[in-house]
């Protein structure tokens, strides 16, 4: 049976090929400082294609900016070795501090560090700056070429969201069960999963450069899915609190709405799998339901003391959840069909 290659093996093969290509290019064109090509290629091989693309833009951009600023600073500073060492330490500090938080700024300070390191070891001039920028750009191009065509590690956006929607579906289906108290922790895992998607979203947006779904649609979708996460969280929490106050009729109505929600999630999954769907079912018009109840029993709603009114909280959350699922459905339907 064929074992699929792990991502780390793929990254290793990509790095190997990128360095070989970089060395060949440097040798063939006889670049004086061609080692920067290999260094950049190695540094820009990352977990996913989107991340590589993002870092390449950042690297080249900040090399130009950092190189220019560093060069200017070098020419403006008095020729003093101690001052150069102090500046080097400052740049190292900001590189170590900022690289994990803001990669863009971290690369800026890294480039300034390189300028002053060369200044310390010999000399720095505009020719070296030009060489550095050119070699970085070539290295980035090689890294992107390899990452794109050799074992590309692309994010399957559809699969990412399908898995997430299945988890929401499981939470919705389990909500009204006898064992629903176990769902308590589910919200935490859902929130943590969504947080991971949001963290990777910036890199994913770069992968959408040549995708039918553009970055703006992706952002809008992400916002709606975040709201879905909030509302499923409200449902899980609120149900635990309100379950004892609900009548059998209330639970029956909630079961019906939960089934509608589950149906809508499945319709959304099918659209993500590029199977055309007629549409999703509308959620119960909670506001009209509530207006009718207020007219029929005004005293019941005057003081809100009755915890059984929490039924309307739950219905409202289901309605909002379905509204946001519908918004995601509209975006995907428009793009794919």
């Amino acid at each position: 049976m064929k074992m699929p290659l792990r991502n780390t093996t793929k990254m290793g093969l990509q790095a190997c090929l990128a360095i070989i290509l970089a060395e060949c290019v440097s040798f063939y064109f006889q670049f004086e400082h061609g080692y920067w090509i290999a260094l950049t290629s190695m540094a820009l091989i990352t977990q996913t294609w989107g991340e590589s693309l993002k870092r390449s833009f950042e690297r080249v951009g900040m090399t130009i900016l950092g190189g220019c600023v560093g060069t200017m600073l070098y020419f403006l500073c008095p020729v003093n070795q101690e001052l150069i060492v102090i500046l080097l330490l400052v740049f190292i500090f900001f590189t170590v501090f900022l690289l994990p938080i803001y990669h863009l700024l971290g690369v800026f300070f890294l480039t300034c560090f390189v300028v002053f390191l060369f200044a310390l070891m010999g000399d720095w001039n505009f020719y070296l700056l030009k060489a550095r920028i050119l070699d970085t750009a070539i290295g980035a191009f090689i890294a992107l070429l390899v990452a794109r065509f050799l074992f590309p590690l692309k994010t399957n956006i559809a699969e990412l969201f399908i898995h997430y929607f299945y988890k929401i579906d499981a939470a919705v289906n389990g909500l009204l069960d006898e064992e629903s108290h176990k769902l308590y922790q589910v919200h935490y895992y859902l929130a943590a999963d969504f947080q991971k998607i949001r963290t990777d979203a910036l890199a994913i947006r770069y992968e959408l450069l040549f995708h039918r779904l553009n970055a703006q649609d992706f952002n809008t979708m992400l916002n709606h899915i975040e709201l879905c996460t909030y509302f499923i969280g409200y449902l899980i929490d609120a149900y635990r609190w309100l379950a004892d106050y609900l009548t059998i009729e209330d639970k029956r109505l909630l079961q019906a709405v939960a089934s509608t929600t589950s149906h809508n999630i499945h319709a959304l999954v099918l659209v993500l799998e590029k199977k055309q769907q007629a549409g999703i079912l509308p959620a119960t018009d909670v506001m009209t339901l509530l207006e009718n109840e207020i007219k029929a029993f005004p005293k019941r709603f005057a003081t809100l003391e009755n915890n059984a009114l929490g039924f309307y909280n739950l219905m409202y959350f289901f309605a909002q959840l379905n509204l946001n699922l519908g918004a995601v459905f509209s975006i995907l339907n428009k793009k794919y069909f």
Partner: protein
Amino acid sequence: MRMLKFVGNKIWAIDPGYLHLKQGIKTILAIALSLWFMRHQAPITQVMASIACGFSMQGVVAHTVYQRLRHIVLFDAVFFSVFILGLMVRDSTLWSGLVLALLGFVVNYIRRFGLERSMAPMMVWMLCFLSILLPMTNNQTIWQPIYGMVIGFGCSAFMLLIWPDNYARLFVENANRFLQTFAAGLEAMRRALIIHSSTEGALSFPFEKTQATLRRLMESNVVLHHKLEAFSQARRHHILIEYYALMNAFSLLNDAMQRLLLEPQVASRSLVLLLARSYKQYAREFLALRVGLDYAFIGTQKRNFLTYSSQDKWQVNRPSAPVIIMMLNFKLGFNLLRQHTWECLRYEDAA
């Protein structure tokens, strides 16, 4: 002093626990120490000492002394080996290219052993790369950079041993910051309610920033939770779950508050005062609540939370569907706040 606190808060917002800030400071202190030892040596030796020191400061994340020592010895041995390998092949373009390519494969391959986000594999490759590029003219100078390297490793090992990262303390500090930020957020909602219930005009909703801060603190703690040992894992897990639930309740109150601030006339004066009182009471309780170093909640009286909603009269002036939903969300939000704080304290009784 206020400026310092302001800057500190801003940095904490992007770097909870000052983890990366401390790493930056430790790195330059270690490099400064190695430069001091190498002050009478040749520039190439000084550069090598600084580079070796700076590189070996990254990547060691173990938090017991014994594990840290093991990591330091292992990593430094690997760094040293690849440096020597680089020195051996530096004279041949073909061999140096091959070694770099193969090493590039190896350092990415080993990321599968828990090193996905670690800087150490890249540092290994770069040390080999630098040893190939080092400007040296004859064999006699090879020992100078090696000597510098050994001193650099020594200085970094010293810094890593005397100033380790304390993830457990950082988890607790984040947890306490969460409670303080939460209390401040509730207080801000109370003030907004009092101010805007009597005035009209442009509104601002600063609670989004509070939510973002709470989220960042949670993310930091989730990462720390995975880094820490199995000891007290259940307590930390419990804190994370309850904090997510509290964030949820905050978000619910935030939504309801935004609706109310857009139409303040729908709530009677007594209702506004009731809401303001609830916000004040909860803000005070959360301010008094703390997490200790053993991850236990301390500092508040449990009975306070029993009395909040039992005498409240939520009088609605002109009940309409949107107003009822908004008030129900307020009521639910406060009930959930009480419930989850109770869960935090109840865990201590059960434990």
